[in-house]
Symmetry: C2
């Protein structure tokens, strides 16, 4: 019988981890079971058995990427003033080791916009929510207005898109810092 796609299982988590490493390098859009299965040393049969369907696997991979992002973010949660904290968030984003994760994120985000049904559905909206929450904690209780957080999030996301396309760390980092300076400046003006 087909295993419940939510059932925890040692083998399932092991294969999920391997598959996750695979899609980080190869992307999710063009993913198909046979090459993936071969790359992780398994078979389509087993992937289907453990994840119920390809959509189930995609959903699990998307969830995996989301929780990794949030976990890493929580571990790197900065202290200090708002501008300093957001600056550290950007440093975290811009780190070259994060490129694959961000590319995968962008892929899921775009796909969830085009295909609201299916396994991608809601990924974009959920991500906005996640980050607004993170910024709510980081920016402190004195900036509870989500519109402030939205502005900061926009800068980070836009700069991230630019960075992914151009790989120009210096220009994008400078742009973020410029906006942050304005942000702190507005508090003192």
């Amino acid at each position: 019988m087909t295993a419940d796609s939510q059932a925890p299982s040692a083998r399932r988590e092991e294969l999920l981890e391997l598959a996750y490493r695979y899609v980080l390098r190869h992307g999710l859009a063009g993913m198909s079971l046979r090459p993936l299965a071969e790359a992780v040393g398994s078979s389509p049969r087993v992937l289907l058995y453990l994840f119920g369907s390809k959509d189930g696997l995609v959903q699990a991979l998307l969830a995996r990427s989301r929780t990794e992002e949030l976990d890493l973010l929580a571990a790197a949660r900065p202290d200090g003033g708002p501008a300093v904290a957001v600056g550290r968030l950007w440093d975290w984003l811009a780190d070259s080791s994060r490129r694959d994760l961000l590319r995968l994120w962008t892929e899921g985000y775009a796909r969830s916009l085009v295909e609201p049904d299916g396994p991608w559905g809601g990924f974009a909206a959920r991500s906005v929510e996640d980050w607004l929450d993170v910024l709510g904690e980081v920016l402190g209780p004195d900036r509870v207005d989500r519109k402030d957080h939205t502005a900061v999030l926009a800068v980070l996301r836009g700069a991230m898109l630019d960075l992914l396309a151009t790989d120009d760390v210096e220009r994008t980092t400078d742009a973020v810092h410029r906006q942050l300076a304005l942000l702190t400046g507005s508090a003192t003006c």
Copy 2:
């Protein structure tokens, strides 16, 4: 024989236009020739004949979307001060009639990050370049530094991503205006 995919032709442009309307509504990622051909009242045979290959068609569609964006942008090119001008750019982006175009743009952008080869290749980098140029004209000759433009572009792109996911025009618009106020404020401080 197969027609050169670059050859201009009345029928080619007519079908390109119809196909463009189609992908605006259905997305590019899941596009396949048979459904598309049927929707535009043609056949896969003809599409292949006129565009050389599916990749050729995708490339033409991507180019079509880029030129439309740039043309509309040029037509709506605002005058007035920097902040006012960028505000009008955002109004243009946030207009509900632009949603499909922006969604398609996001799709192409993400795909070009994952698959640098193939028809999408360079789309993201080219788009950054395009918009930096636009902002260069809009923000006037007194702000020639591309790092300023990068910051403004980041705000617009990030807010756009947010808008596409949440459809929250008020929150995103407010965020953009908040950044713009800071931007003009920095000139007067």
